[in-house]
């Protein structure tokens, strides 16, 4: 009667990821699902291994948060042959869509776009030099969030990305890279806005801006993505301006889809897009902070 | 007879300098076909360096080498090997991690279908070593065998490689009479076959026994080359040292003085299973106890267990009624023990440290890290022993690995003398040490005894043992089998004691 679901998680490289894991476990528990969890420690080969051993164990369904888009055909084919439905979380894969049940993801390009749009609206035609903190070089969020942001900026000649460097999605690197941006751009006087591919880097960068004697949020606008609790604290303090939410609750819709599929075979749509909600200082950040605090970020 | 044999090797004007030192200065050396040519000189005279220049292990700075009438310039030892020059370098230079057979045939393993034929290689290795009366498991790792066995393996390899020239750099340093005799048999056979053989040693008897000609180096310069037959021992020593050697070591020794003192160290039923059978031993103040035995008889094991390098698992050790703690070298040193090990490369020198630091090491270790010996104090110690033991080094800051073998040995000795121990264990202390220093060290041992130090000396040189021991313990098969004292301490008696037990065994 009960369902056994294998969950192959990328790893635990950030607070957001930890929250996703926590929520997935919570959701599974609420629904009485036996969740087999496998942490791949950032390695695709470990995810493939995990999938294979889920198949060998004969689980009822598999949740996969793929570390990269490519390279899944073979193992997904094996899952299909074993008649195990696979649901993709927070990133889709580059494979025939009959190989998985559905993908529950946000649109990474769209997220970047929302952030860019916000910035364009905010500066309202004034010239503005933007510095960009990229995610880990080569990771798909870094590529797509950059792409989306650039798309949003295309139609605005007043906005210009003057520096773009990777901050590896971490606070430490975000801070270090921002320090060098500030040095390189005339002590920061040249910079009007910061776009960070995730909130952690933004939080680090905010500290760097403060230490350089500038006011983040006013002297330099700060917009980032993810909506982790700490950025709301910063927004409440007026140090960050906007963030785009990437919900860590991908498992809820996934389990819903699986339930429906198992009950009467209703195939869910191939792509269930999560909302990319924009939060600004106007959205009562402290309240959101309190809501999000307990979610394992 | 060989005097008109054609030259197989002629080196002229060889120059070699190291940073801060000129090791060879315009040295000429020639080797005839079918002769054994002894290359002699004090420690650090440049013998090993000359050899290495000849085999391409070092790049010489100047000079020509003519082999069989053709000028050659071996750039590495492989090229020299291919030219027919086989060499045993000083210190056993074999690979402890390979098997005996692999060491023997490295680079020229027999192959079948392109693959190394291990069985054939082992078979050939056994055949090869049988010529040296060595019946060991050739498929076992070399490191499991004693220095002596390794030495024989090195010799067997070099001999097997040499088509024209065989160079032996102190091959007999760790061998006893039996092996030496065997080596000489082989050397003579090769000589008769027309090989030119270079033989380096500090044992002058061996030189006279086997060498046809003698070349002497001093301070990197050629002193001269002479027929062995026409050169008296006295003159030879004078050539080597550049002065006469006072013959002190020959007769006067402290045997009478010692032996009378109180028993100071008392070992009862002392042993360790698998290493050495339990033995009893008393050592008096101011006494030298010699330890004799064949290779592998357990002499080194005796020394190691006395020093705590191997922990005893039976028996007691006491001094003056007090139990001694000999559970580790550190504990033994705290009891004022000292131990100069046999295998200086592995157990003795700390290669990258300077001569000064190597001398200060044991003393410093005993004082503990928090009480460093001042730099001035270290310098004083180092200078004192460099002078006292005549250690040849450009300065006290030279890394010890750059010293010649004999000089390294002296530094290790100095390390222990500096701790001023009550009980000093010397395992083959004079290995590789030149005649001058040899006499020096024997004198030193005697004066140490006179100052009340107790010594245990292990040596394969029975004459030497007889010269300073008040008692000699004879070992066989890892057990103490006899003890000679007083007037019975003679070479003949020791040989007899070893043989007697052998007979009893058979």
């Amino acid at each position: 009667a009960e369902m056994t679901v294998g969950f192959s998680q990328i790893g635990s490289e950030s607070g957001w990821r930890a929250a996703e894991t926590t929520l997935t476990k919570q959701q599974a528990e609420e629904r009485g699902i036996d969740l087999k969890f496998a942490d791949a420690q950032q390695k695709q080969e470990n995810q493939i291994k995990a999938l294979r051993s889920f198949i060998a164990q004969g689980v009822d369904a598999i949740l996969l948060a793929p570390v990269v888009a490519t390279g899944w055909d073979e193992v997904l084919q094996e899952a299909k042959e074993a008649e195990i439905p696979v649901v993709l979380l927070d990133r889709t894969v580059d494979a025939a869509d009959d190989l998985y049940l559905t993908a529950i993801t946000s649109d990474l390009v769209h997220e970047g776009n929302v952030a860019g749009q916000w910035l364009a609206d905010t500066v309202a035609g004034k010239p503005c030099n933007v510095v960009e903190l990229q995610g880990t070089t080569g990771s798909s969020p870094a590529i797509d969030r950059k792409k989306g942001f650039e798309q949003a900026l295309e139609s605005h000649d007043n906005l210009k990305i003057i520096r773009s460097q990777t901050g590896d999605f971490t606070r430490t690197k975000g801070k270090e890279v921002m320090e060098s941006f500030l040095k390189a751009e005339d002590g920061g006087k040249n910079i009007c806005a910061l776009y960070a591919h995730n909130d952690d880097m933004a939080v680090g960068a905010i500290q760097a801006i403060k230490e350089a004697g500038l006011k983040p949020g006013t002297d330099i606008l700060v917009v980032s993505i993810d909506a982790v609790p700490d950025i709301f604290e910063a927004m409440a303090a007026g140090e960050a301006n906007a963030t785009v939410e990437l919900t860590p609750n991908m498992a809820g819709p996934a389990f819903d889809a699986l339930d429906a599929y198992r009950k009467d075979g209703t195939a869910p749509p191939k792509w269930i897009q999560t909302e990319s909600k924009l939060y600004t200082q106007a959205d009562d950040p402290m309240k959101v902070y309190e809501e999000k605090k307990g979610l394992g970020y | 007879m060989q005097s008109d044999n054609p030259l197989v090797l002629a080196a002229t004007g060889i120059d070699k300098s190291f940073p801060g030192a000129k090791a060879l200065d315009q040295v000429d050396f020639s080797l005839r076909r079918g002769e054994v040519h002894a290359l002699l000189g004090e420690n650090g005279a440049g013998k090993s360096t000359l050899v290495k220049c000849l085999t391409g292990a070092y790049r010489r700075n100047a000079g020509r080498i003519v082999l069989d009438g053709v000028e050659v310039d071996p750039r590495d030892t492989l090229e020299a090997q291919n030219l027919g020059i086989g060499t045993v370098y000083q210190e056993v230079n074999l690979l402890p991690n390979l098997t005996v057979a692999e060491n023997l045939f490295l680079g020229r393993q027999p192959r079948r279908f392109g693959l190394v034929d291990t069985r054939e290689m082992n078979r050939r290795a056994r055949v090869l070593l049988a010529q040296y009366d060595l019946d060991i498991d050739v498929a076992a790792g070399l490191s499991g065998y004693s220095v002596a066995v390794q030495q024989v393996v090195a010799i067997a390899r070099a001999v097997d490689l040499s088509g024209k020239v065989l160079i032996l750099d102190e091959p007999t340093a760790s061998l006893d009479a039996h092996e030496v005799a065997m080596l000489f048999r082989i050397v003579r056979r090769l000589r008769d076959r027309g090989l030119g053989i270079v033989f380096i040693t500090h044992f002058l008897e061996q030189v006279y026994e086997i060498a046809d000609r003698i070349t002497v180096l001093r301070n990197g310069r050629l002193v001269g080359t002479q027929e062995a037959a026409g050169l008296s021992r006295r003159d030879l020593i004078a050539m080597m040292l550049g002065r006469e050697l006072a013959d002190a070591a020959d007769d006067a020794h402290g045997r009478a003085a010692a032996g009378a003192g109180e028993v100071r160290f008392r070992f009862r039923n002392y042993g360790r299973s698998g290493r050495i059978r339990p033995f009893d031993l008393d050592v008096r103040a101011g006494e030298v106890v010699g330890v004799a035995g064949l290779l592998g008889s357990g002499r080194t094991e005796t020394a190691e267990i006395l020093f705590g390098a191997e922990r005893a698992d039976s028996g007691t050790a006491e001094a003056g009624g007090r139990r001694l703690d000999l559970s580790s070298p550190r504990a033994a040193i705290r009891e004022k023990f000292g131990f100069c090990p046999e295998d200086r490369k592995v157990d003795g020198i700390v290669g990258d440290l300077s001569v000064r630091e190597n001398i200060a090491l044991a003393l410093q270790a005993r004082r503990g890290w928090a009480r460093p010996l001042g730099r001035a104090e270290q310098d004083r110690l180092a200078d004192h022993y460099i002078k006292a033991l005549d250690i040849r080094t450009t300065d006290r800051e030279k890394p010890i690995r750059l010293l010649s073998g004999g000089n390294q040995q002296k530094v290790i000795l100095a390390r222990w003398l500096a701790t001023n121990p009550d009980f000093l264990i010397l395992d083959e202390p004079t290995r590789g040490i030149d005649v001058g220093a040899h006499a020096e060290i024997i004198r030193l041992i005697e004066s140490l005894c006179e100052n009340g130090m107790s010594l245990i000396v292990i040596s394969s040189e029975l004459e030497e043992l007889v010269a300073y021991s008040s008692r000699v313990i004879v070992l066989r098969d890892r057990a103490h089998v006899a003890e000679l004292s007083g007037e019975r301490v003679t070479t003949a008696a020791i040989v007899e004691a070893i043989a007697a037990t052998e007979r009893a065994q058979a």
């Binding site: 060998a56 490519t70 | 590495d76 074999l94 680079g107």
Partner: protein, 329 residues
């Protein structure tokens, strides 16, 4: 048994024992599927580890393998995407490049007399950097030839498969054993690991051997890259980060001394399987959080090493006790 083989035997024994324990807990672990997966999933790592074994046996280390694997994957993907070249030709080209890359590192190590650690670390940066420059995207490989290659497998009873790449890994191990233990080159590798100065005096061509060792490691890393690209049908510049450490761990767990000169290629296979077993066990368990996963991997690693040490120690004691000579007088 020759005492030289004892560490190897101990490692094998521990592996079998561990497998038994896993089996008792999860009977599924003995299915041919799991065994087949063990080979397929670790194929690229195993191939790279064979190269690493040679490097470590010679007393060196090669930190570049993970990056070289990633580079090879991206290189193949880009090449197959943008040209009409046949994959086999692309494979050949990739192997030439990685072999030359390894040889270059070997040459620098020998001629500039620099520690392998730092040279291959620079090599690691360079290889991954080149992968980034080729493409930061992950590129799928859709060539039909890949599908053909993937279709080659031997079906075991019970649903498991010996795939082409799994088989290739076993073949590489076999070849590695042959080279290490039955060729002159192999003996020279051990000689370098024993003592470079001595090896030189004994006439081992040190320079040539060093270059060849790193070239071999580069070649095998390239081959591992090809296998990895087959395994994932893609090239991705962020792939196989830290694989060098896994390879080193497999080698060292397999009983090879990091100081060089002692160990067996076969040991590496067992080391590899032990790691794979730990991984499989953890997924079978499936109740561990991310952090407990790491902690448990560490502890299991520790337990294996400890067991290995213990077994070897006991055997040493036995051997020594047996060597005690009976009363001689």
């Amino acid at each position: 048994m020759n005492p030289r083989y004892f560490p190897l035997a101990a490692t094998v024994a521990i592996f079998l024992l561990a497998y038994l324990v896993c089996y008792l807990q999860y009977p599924n672990m003995l299915s041919t599927r799991v065994i087949g997966n063990l080979l397929t999933d670790n194929a690229f790592l195993g191939i790279a580890a064979v190269g690493m074994t040679f490097v470590i046996l010679s007393g060196g280390i090669d930190l570049s393998v993970g990056a070289v694997i990633a580079f090879t994957g991206v290189f193949l993907a880009v090449l197959l995407q943008s040209t009409a070249i046949h994959p086999l030709a692309a494979f050949g080209l990739a192997l030439v490049i990685t072999t030359a890359f390894g040889a270059l590192m070997g040459a620098i190590i020998h001629h500039l007399q620099m520690p392998p650690f730092i040279v291959t670390l620079a090599g690691m940066f360079l290889a991954r950097g080149m992968a980034f420059v080729l493409s930061i995207d992950s590129i799928p490989i859709r060539h039909p030839f890949y599908a053909t290659l993937k279709g080659l497998y031997y079906k075991l009873p019970g649903g498991g498969r010996i795939t082409l790449i799994g088989g290739l890994m076993l073949a590489v191990f076999a070849a590695g054993m042959l080279i290490a233990h039955r060729t002159r080159f192999g003996a020279n590798v051990y000689a370098l690991g024993g003592d470079i100065a001595t090896a030189q005096l004994m006439g081992v061509p040190v320079g040539r051997t060093t270059v060849a060792i790193y070239a071999l490691s580069g070649f095998l890393a390239g081959l591992a890259g090809i296998v990895f690209s087959l395994y994932t049908s893609a090239g991705y510049s962020l792939a196989t980060v830290g694989v060098e450490l896994d390879a080193i761990a497999a080698v060292v767990i397999g009983g090879t001394l990091l100081t060089g000169g002692s160990g067996f290629v076969a040991g590496t296979l067992v080391g590899l399987l032990i790691q794979g077993l730990i991984q499989t066990y953890i997924t079978f368990d499936g109740s561990l959080s991310s952090w407990w996963t790491k902690i448990l991997i560490g502890l299991l690693l520790f337990a294996f090493i400890l067991l290995q040490k213990g077994l070897i120690h006991i055997s040493d004691r036995r051997r020594r006790a047996a060597a005690t000579v009976p009363a001689a007088s």
